[in-house]
Symmetry: none
Subunit: 204 residues, 3 copies
């Protein structure tokens, strides 16, 4: 009660375009985690440029999480073609995805929706709604799959001042089992596919 928000739980008070807050779960409990994306070279959008984009990934990630970035990258590119056909940012850009803090090993697929959101935010040059955090594996076609540690992740989100959490639909039962004082003050959305995430974080 009345505990201050720890600065270490909230690296960004406001997330700029390209940065999204995710939720992680370790043996030590839950924590927030930020996905940062940026261009590693200026974008060349001249029509005669034949350059294809590349992807650089850092943050001491395990194999599953590295693959998760690859899946998010592929999905984000195909999703953007639908939403904004003339936007060539992800196809042409030299993208760098990083997950601070660099010394902490990280693994698992549950940052999928977070990585997709960061890539789309960068490509659209548009920050997400603020005080939102999310977790969920994403498939290559945009299905959102359930993840572990819902209780710990929601507690971590709350401690960090999050107002809106986006969770996989199949984790609805895990959320409902939480005690009321944990759920209080948190608006939770349960999604089956990534387009639902998009409509929440980038409202019209």
């Amino acid at each position: 009660v009345g505990k201050p928000v720890f600065t270490s739980d909230r690296m960004y008070l406001e997330t700029p375009a390209g940065v999204v807050m995710g939720l992680a779960w370790t043996s030590m409990g839950g924590s927030t985690l930020f996905i940062e994306t940026t261009l590693s070279r200026p974008l060349d959008l001249s029509p005669d440029s034949k350059e294809q984009g590349t992807l650089t990934v850092t943050g001491h990630l395990g194999e599953v999480m590295k693959e998760s970035v690859q899946i998010a990258y592929t999905f984000a590119k195909s999703f953007l073609v639908q939403k904004d056909p003339i936007n060539k940012f992800l196809q042409r850009g030299f993208i760098h995805v990083h997950v601070p803090e660099g010394a902490t090993p990280k693994d698992g697929p549950s940052a999928g929706v977070t990585i997709v959101s960061a890539l789309l935010s960068l490509a659209l040059n548009r920050p997400l709604i603020q005080n939102v955090a999310m977790t969920g594996e994403v498939s290559l076609t945009g299905k959102v799959l359930p993840v572990g540690g819902i209780k710990e992740k929601v507690i971590a989100a709350k401690r960090a001042g999050v107002k809106t959490v986006i969770l996989p639909h199949e984790n609805l039962k895990d959320f409902n089992e939480l005690q009321d004082f944990i759920k209080e003050g948190i608006q939770a959305h349960f999604v089956k596919s990534y387009d639902e995430v998009f409509n929440i974080i980038f409202p019209k």
Copy 2:
């Protein structure tokens, strides 16, 4: 009291452009460490050149520190676009980053700010203020994150004749806990983001 500065603690009495003193922490205690950067080929700035720069990294670095160089390289390029838009040095240059001594294994993310500073110093062809040392993880967007071993690092800096140390803001409490005789004669700056480092090391 009255101990001489060990030459092994101070490989450079003056650091030229491209070289920056960092602080390391091992099981043996703290020590200074230099980040050296240079071009591995002459720069071709002819307007019709389409060459993109490359990055070579040496110094017996572990995976986390190699990633740290990659993050510093991406961030330094995007930071330089803001500070000096016509400067194409980092985008076009064939950059080599080395951390002596070559036989000593080194790892960890805490040289982030030091590597960024060395790259910018090289690109601007401008040495830093002298007798400055720094430590701090840097994120892809330039946030400065806390590191370990503040006590050992400050002692090592002092032994090497450093007058100004730059530390992450979140390590302020660690510095304040040091005994007065350690802090004496050291001007410490505590930073949250890299632009604060830049303003200290390259005063107008």
Copy 3:
């Protein structure tokens, strides 16, 4: 006293351009070691050539020694730009560096000055002074750093008929501790930076 020079201690009685005698230190004691450099393709110096040089390294080298060759290559190129600005040999050349004997694993950074010297000798097409051997780590900016095994290396040099040894300045104390009969007949130079090595091996 009166022992013959073993042929295995002296693979070259005279070193041609591109070949330099170094000194190694193993659990078996000290030994001489030669760095051999040559072009792997004829040099194309036509002004419209856009070819950039490459580096091939052989000799069963460990990771630290491979990095040491990379550092020597970068430093030798930037040093040559200063000494002989129109000499494009190292920038354009397809250089091959080899360390006989191919079956013996070798590692460590202490051949740095030897590799730089071999590359410069090749580029200048000029042999070094004869009966010289050297050891020392070299940093990316040409600082010469101390190495281990000075006693064993000097004994090996003497056994091989070396008259001049070049050692890092920080190893001066190690040399001074040697017994007089070891030091007798050997002219030792102690250097802090590579340009001092250059002036010794290529006298005007």
